[in-house]
Symmetry: C2
Subunit: 500 residues, 2 copies
């Protein structure tokens, strides 16, 4: 179950984007993430955000091998916004968004803060799509065929893509001397911070928003995600929290009765008969998780869910209250609830990534959260990946390649110019960097706010704490650029001592 | 020609090792490097240095892809010296040698300084072989078959090998908390510094001896290598330098005469008739280059060459003097000189590496050095690689992956704990880091001394400047370990702020 839940809730800022895209719909958005799971990585019917133009770079298939096929190339999509750039004559920066698990248009639409930044810094905005998402398909329509075509789908290859593309783009713009800053949210935030760590010669700094880089191996307690969701709900309404917490055993009790599934189908008014109680439990869990992960102002997602539960007519029993939650979700049709059958797909990009290297051990024992017990089970996880992709996860690779253990000790005297930003209502903040690592590798977090909030379009109605968070980020980024300019202009480049 | 020269002189500390191994031979050693070119990467008939035991780790074939064959494994050889280790209960360090382009026994024999260090620090010594050298052949005897088997032969894969092996070794020793320091010389020195840059969570620091990490693209003038060789000779003897400088046109003049090659064969007393004057010019060039690169005390290699030239009987002409140089080389047999026919082999590990990513543009125009003009020609270089391995070099990859441009600016506020050590007589020092980059990324160089001298066994007869160099290195390494221990014992590990 941990696997399924993880697949449902992880990890993109896309949700924010979808909210923006679909917020005029009558359908409440929180379960859209689930719908997207199956369909979206190839969904390129997205309109280009205003001000952006699409380009394609001839990208190397395999940066780390020299087999004959390594030299194959593919059309790697990226977006550029030229509107605010001061040009290559001064020291105007280039802001690069390290694309994540979605078509790059979603990233561009969902991180409007960067457009504001570009205006302020006269920056060139470049959004680079992640390979195997959107249009950046190394083997075209056959990219998801099997491990032979999917095999090049790794975070290290994606980072090397960014390095190669940026280097070539700067050369073509005669802009080799300009500072580049990386930005990203969620998985893209992880990539932004890793990009700074692995390619400091390409980017002078990184803003990593809501990047759960510590959700690997045993660095973060497995239940971190679930505990934050539970606390979010408890904080909103103790009775709501208790109703949810009590609902699982109630569902199980009814399911165990004679014709229990039929009864549950009636209680939850599902369009088709339930095959297992897990279908409704998974759907409900994903609603709670999404509500917490994307509980960003001005919306009040948890409030909406809890109101549905709490404001049921007096005397409504637990499952009656809980069934009202479905009405807030994408499952709602005019006459019944169409619970999505979450058969794991072998055409999900994020599914592939979680089945290879992005093994986040999310789970919990009984009584740690408001959820039913669902411990992380690496064996079941591995079996599911074998079935789905005929692939074996490498659960230790991320920490071997990027670190994570003892991060303060390791990066305290190594690395610089990274901002880890988090909203503590975001369940993924449990695995974020929440404490300054050094003077220049810093953590900015707010008590309020959830996933990737700082990257969204700023509004005049934004709360003060959000305004303050962004101001702090701007001031730090300004200091990186100023510092770079100072060094560049005094030409502190390596000079060789002359032999006497 | 640049290609051939490069292949001949690059880059290992092995030469030092071979000197040790063969120094009782009557044959002077400087051309042995060339002989080794064809034969040695599979030469595992080397005895294990005293105190070392050999082990094999089941290594991942491809760390950066998830194709079915990526999961194949191979027996990855490493050596351990347990003699001095204080054990896993204290904070005794692990010193790792990042193996380079030779069987690992050569590395262990050639870097006796580490044994002294191990005694001093009660350290565990681990020497890890580089994949595709020695016994660490991913496809056994077929490893050099073609690009399908050679394709996984890259520096990034090698670094990931080291990361994975060290992580597993520490786990097996219950020594996860112990600090690891990386050491390497020449190409191995490049690997040691890159390892610290890319895997700061695995190693707390690196000593990179004679690492020409700046000999890529246009960072270092192409003629840097040749200029240092020439200066080394000029400093030893102006007349020797002039004789060499004048010899090329003299060789060309004779070669252009009727039966010129026959005359040259006679002058140089070659065992077989020359096919081109290039054969003798290449051989001579490699002698001069090797003499400079390995001109380490107590030996006086350049002096030996120059004495042969200068001490010819009065009236000996230029080529007569130059022919005496062959007598100092491995070409000498009892009755003639057996010039090695340097047909590029497709079984040379270093050949493969220079034909894929290690593209060092070594060359010079007329009059820049004592050598004949031999500009670096990327087209000829590429053609030669196509013929040799059916492979296309990626001359920009190293700087894309590891940087190098503006290194002081880039690493000045990023990275820590790297020592770049160089002897300025070493031609490769022209592309070394010779200036401190920051307080903790430092350059140590000596006016005297050539390639990898500091890593060799210390002797009581070592000159003061060498003793001082090593003392400085020890003191810096000590400070890394002390600093690590202090951080570790106060447990400055990341703590999460508690939400109110």
């Amino acid at each position: 179950m941990a696997d399924k839940l993880q697949l449902k809730v992880l990890t993109a800022c896309v949700y924010v984007v979808l909210i923006k895209v679909v917020c005029i719909s009558a359908t409440s958005p929180w379960a859209l993430r689930s719908i997207r799971e199956l369909s979206s990585q190839n969904d390129v019917n997205v309109s280009l955000p205003a001000g952006f133009k699409a380009y394609y770079y001839t990208q190397t298939l395999d940066h780390f091998s020299y087999k004959p096929e390594s030299y194959n190339t593919f059309k790697h999509k990226y977006l550029v916004n030229w509107d605010y750039w001061g040009g290559n004559k001064g020291s105007y920066p280039i802001f690069v968004y390290t694309g994540d698990e979605q078509a790059i248009e979603y990233d561009a639409s969902g991180s409007g803060f960067l457009v504001n930044l570009a205006k302020q810094f006269k920056a060139l905005l470049v959004y680079i799509e992640h390979r195997y998402y959107g249009e950046s398909m190394p083997f075209g329509d056959n990219s998801f065929q099997d491990a032979n075509t999917l095999g090049y789908f790794t975070s290290a290859q994606a980072l090397a893509d960014y390095a190669e593309l940026i280097t070539n783009l700067k050369m073509n713009l005669s802009a080799q001397h300009l500072p580049v800053v990386a930005f990203g949210g969620s998985y893209g935030g992880m990539l932004a911070s890793w990009f700074r760590l692995k390619y400091p010669h390409i980017v002078i700094g990184a803003l990593a928003s809501s990047a759960p880089i510590l959700y690997f191996e045993d660095i973060t307690p497995h239940d971190g995600y679930g505990v934050v969701v539970s606390n979010d709900f408890k904080e909103n309404s103790e009775s709501c929290y208790n109703t949810i917490k009590d609902s699982w055993s109630e569902i199980n009790r009814v399911a165990a009765e004679e014709n229990g599934l039929t009864k549950l189908s009636q209680i939850f008014n599902t369009c088709t008969p339930l095959n297992s109680s897990g279908e409704v439990k998974n759907w409900l869990s994903s609603i709670y998780m999404s509500a917490a992960q994307y509980d960003n102002p001005p919306r009040d997602r948890i409030g909406t869910v809890c109101n549905a539960i709490n404001e049921a007519p007096a005397g409504t029993d637990i499952l009656g209250r809980i069934s009202r939650v479905l009405n807030t979700s994408a499952a709602a049709t005019s006459s019944c609830y169409n619970l999505y059958q979450s058969t794991p797909s072998n055409h999900s990009g994020w599914g592939w990534q979680t089945c290879t290297e992005m093994v986040m051990p999310i789970g919990w024992e009984a009584n740690q959260t408001m959820f039913e017990a669902s411990p992380f089970d690496i064996k079941a996880y591995t079996n599911s990946c074998r079935q789905r992709f005929s692939i074996e996860p490498r659960p230790h690779w991320i920490t071997t390649e990027y670190g994570g253990h003892d991060i303060k000790s390791v990066l305290g005297n190594f690395a610089s110019n990274i901002i880890f930003s988090n909203g503590l209502r975001d369940p993924y903040s449990s695995a974020g960097v929440l404490e300054n690592i050094s003077d220049t590798v810093v953590a900015i977090h707010t008590e309020k706010g959830a996933h990737c909030l700082d990257l969204q379009v700023p509004y005049s109605t934004d709360p003060d704490w959000l305004v303050a968070m962004r101001e702090k980020e701007v001031s730090i980024i300004q200091s990186w650029i100023t510092g770079y300019g100072a060094k560049y202009s005094t030409k502190l480049l390596a000079k060789k001592p002359v032999r006497k």
